[in-house]
């Protein structure tokens, strides 16, 4: 019987070595250790073995059984792993899409800017689009019949009310409704009575900034805006501040950054100057403080404002502003 066992072991070993698939594996299992398997049969025959050899034969049987079982398990694992590697469907078909929509590109741009200032502890305020002449102009130190008003072509809805030409009137509202210290940004839609073209639209978005406290300085304004620009445009950015004029700030400035399309060499976009203007800013004019009953001897402040469309057009390489308001799905779905 020991010889038979040895033979079975040999046969099983050869069969297991040459095994090719799981079906064969099941056949081998049945052949040797299945209910009617050869080895199973020998176990049944064990009782007819001479007493003194029972122990030896038994051990031999068990050893072969364990060998077959272990090898089977090992082979099964290998074959299964192999099987999982083969693909039985056309995986090149596109996946099922569950479309996520998108925020408008202008809103996405605003989000980026807002998040930079929020981290600096700025609040965010909004204001109405129909404004009084007082909030939009007078309180901001634009006297009636002053050439400064020509800087902004205005849509009027009556002789006292208009579509705000900038987000600066929200400054007035924020100062009227809060006590300093104030650090705030104010995004929103503004309107200009300009012919619609590739370069200008009758409405666009601005983001206004305002800080009022007892110790706000021009140096802090510069620091804050440089921080913003580096966060937004990259830390290697070069910048400059130029004197400019806004009735509601004094001193007033405009901030330029090196044209990132030509690296400052001069191109069409920067009109050959190598610089791109990104925002206007300055120290809050004492007349503005006066209009909201703040004491300009005690308080100082800065304000800044930037056009969002311009930033987005430059950043994403869009050459016609109207595409932002056409809402063509082929555009919306790109961002």
């Amino acid at each position: 019987m020991l010889d038979t066992i040895k033979k079975i072991r040999q046969e099983a070993h050869e069969a297991l070595e040459n095994i090719k698939n799981l079906n064969e594996l099941e056949d081998i299992k049945a052949k040797f250790i299945g209910k009617k398997g050869e080895l199973t049969q020998l176990f049944k025959d064990l009782k007819s073995v001479e007493r003194e050899k029972i122990r030896e034969v038994g051990q031999a049987l068990n050893e072969v059984k364990t060998f077959i079982e272990n090898t089977l398990a090992e082979k099964r694992e290998k074959l299964q792993a192999q099987q999982e590697k083969t693909v039985d469907f056309d995986f090149t078909l596109p996946g099922r899409h569950y479309n996520i929509g998108s925020k408008h590109l202008i809103v996405q741009t605003l989000d980026e800017i807002k998040s930079i200032f929020k981290k600096l502890g700025f609040s965010i305020y909004e204001g109405p689009e129909i404004e009084s002449d007082f909030n939009n102009f007078e309180a901001l130190n634009f006297p009636a019949d002053h050439p400064a008003r020509d800087m902004q072509d205005t849509f009027f809805v009556s002789d006292k009310f208009l579509l705000r030409t900038h987000t600066s009137p929200v400054q007035i509202r924020v100062m009227q409704n809060n006590t300093p210290p104030i650090r705030a940004i104010m995004p929103g839609k503004v309107y200009r009575n300009e012919a619609i073209s590739a370069r200008s639209y009758c409405l666009f978005h601005q983001l206004e900034g305002l800080a009022v406290d007892t110790d706000i300085t021009f140096a802090e304004l510069k620091g804050t805006l440089v921080h913003f620009a580096k966060e937004f445009y990259g830390s290697s950015l070069k910048y400059r501040f130029r004197p400019s004029f806004f009735p509601f700030t004094e001193p007033s400035a405009e901030m330029d950054i090196t044209c990132y399309l030509c690296g400052g060499k001069g191109c069409r976009v920067c009109k050959g100057t190598g610089w791109l203007e990104i925002l206007g800013c300055g120290m809050v004019d004492p007349n503005v403080f006066k209009s909201v009953n703040y004491d300009s001897e005690e308080l100082t402040g800065y304000a800044f404002g930037m056009g969002i469309e311009r930033i987005a057009l430059l950043k994403y390489g869009i050459t016609d502003i109207r595409i932002l308001f056409d809402n063509d799905f082929r555009f919306l779905s790109q961002f």
Binding site: S123, L163, C202, T217, R242, E250
Partner: protein, 801 residues
Amino acid sequence: MKISLNWLRNFINIPEVSNEEIIEKLTSVGLEVEAVEDYSKMYNNIVVGFVKEKQKHPNADKLSVTVVSDGKEEFKVVCGAPNCQQGKKVVFAKVGAFIPAFGETLKKAKIRGEESFGMLCSEKELMLSDSHDGIMILNDDAPVGTEISKYFGLDDCVIEIGITPNRPDALSHIGVARDLAAIYGKSINLPDDKVIEADIDVNTVAKVVVKNSIDCPRYAARVVKNVKVKESPEWLKKRLKAVGLRPINNIVDITNYLLYETGQPLHAFDLNMLKDNTIIVKSAETDTKFVTLDSKERVVPKDSLFICDAEKPVALAGIMGGENSEISEKTTNVLIECAYFNPTRIRKTAKKLQISTDSSYRFERGCDPNNVIYVVNRTAKLIQELAGGEICKGIIDVYPEKIPNKVIDFRLGRVKQILGFIVEKGKIESIFKGLGFKILNSDVNSLKVEVPTFRPDIEREIDLIEEVARIYGYDNIPVVEKISIPMKSTVDESEYNDKLRGILTSLGCYEIISNSLQKKELAVITGNPVKVLNPISSDLEVLRTSLLQGCLNTIVNNLNVGEKSLKLFEIGHVFKQINENINAFSDFTEKEHLMVALTGTSINDVWYDKNRQYDYFDLKGIVEELFSKLGFNDISFAKPEHHYQYMKNQFEIVVNNKIVGYLGIVSANILKKFDINQAVYYAEIELDILKSLKVNIRKFKELQKYPKVIKDLAFIVDKNITYAELEEFIYKNSKNILKFVKPFDIFESDEFGKNNRSIAIRLEFYDENMTLTEEVVEKEFVSIIEKVRNKFNAQLRGEVK
């Protein structure tokens, strides 16, 4: 404004400073250089050429084929100008030359089959003037091959400066030179204004009466007799052309020249045309017709300031002269007006008449009332030099009340408070002196500064601080790298909308931003719109009363480009007029709305599914999900109290018992107006109401410990019975082990009868404290079936007779 750097350098002696540096410095002090035309570099490869041969073009009657020599080589050039002649000297642009008028570099071309190596240019093509009367024909002695920039003396560099409205002083070459003087610590050189006067007393030849000295605080005049009006000399014409002016005649050119030199507008009258040799400055008592120099008749509004002679207006003060007294070739005696007019008056008239001249532009920003004598002398002197004649003795100067220089107290400590760093006192003083200000008094903490009248923008200490910062250089101001933030709660008014955007985009909606300005006829459908008094066009004459129009415009634009399936949302303000006149915020409303719209197919030609059109329930699902994610548990949809005529199947959206908006299908009549022929599902929500609603913090619900039992059933009921009625009835008439009811199949069939439908419902039973037994559930299930049967006359499916 255009500034010629050659001209500018007449007033400030800085030969060591390059043009490039001047440009950079001017920008750094706030005179932003927006464009640079460097003529010395502009006309490379354009030379004096000689037309050796000229033949007709074989394929074009109006063209000729020439052979042009540059002295070394000969080139074949096709030319279209009729005045091109053999043997003439011309302006020849070679291949590679930049042609300013085209903004392009010249390439070798084939014109009607003939090759052309360059072109012969007109003045217009080189942007030397507007003249396009054929090509330029040069004098016969022009040296062939000479670069054109050398030949014309075009070595100037002309810059365009964007002058902000606060800096009228910089609207002249001397004014710009003054900023440079402050930067480089130099003084400016003013040309001599000493005149040689004849014996005739000016008061015997002319008289000036100012009747409105508020609008005309100063009026000065000189008379030059026996002048010869003719063409200006080349140098003067060149200067004027450089700054973009067209030379007219020597007298007019001189007034323009001095305007660009000093910033003081001037006017020259033909004295012989002035009735009684008299000037009367007075306001128009009524709207008055007047023909200005440009031969246009204008209706000048009442109260405008006129310069009149003894009987009629002869000039619109500070804006434009009149045709009736302009300088002509016949003019012999000239009265030079050099005045200071009230900025507001000039601005009002110019704005009403919608004219802006070099003169009005300066007067309305503010000229220097105390510089008129210098300028009138310079003018008389130059007229005498270029047009001959005798300068009458004396100046007529009507200046009843002298406008004084301003004196401003300046605290040195305030500089640090505003700018954030200390500027040395000595530096501050030198900046002020450089700008032409006087230091009247100086002590440890303060200065007393006298500011001349050429700087009307400087009135306060803060304005002086700006001057310090400007000349010191903004880029030299340190950058603070640390700020301190008070521990005060911050506000974010845009947070809620950002949350809405987050939910809606995750539901697959795309955000649009549409124009708030719209067509009136469509805006009136959704409310009484606020009108814009001065719209760009009739398409944009009112403000939107709803977000519907913008949405439908967006849909139609997309349909036109083949984008037929859209899932959109917009957040924006809508406006409605309440009272007839807008005098206060209460006369109109401005509210923030949200719209969501669906059109086309939900699933669109994919390999794994069948196409399906969007329907009402897609929109309803989005709205339900939106409110649920916002934290509201109580959402329902109600038949509207007020049905909008532009909606079909409209329902009100009710959240926490408040109507927050509506949803439905846009009426076919409206869609027709927009040329949309597919269904549009539309919801509009008033965000002000929504934001006012309280959201309760959701409390955690224990997870189920015991298995739930699910039972499905289907009733055939009358179509008029709504699902909501059924559901409500089931909930109300069952024990509390029934936890959840939902419909899972709705079905119509002839089998059920015309007025019936099948509603399949899933019931979920669960007990928090134990495993439900089959008997308990079965009993309740049967009871529910019985009650529904009785109440709604429903049939359980499978029992259909």
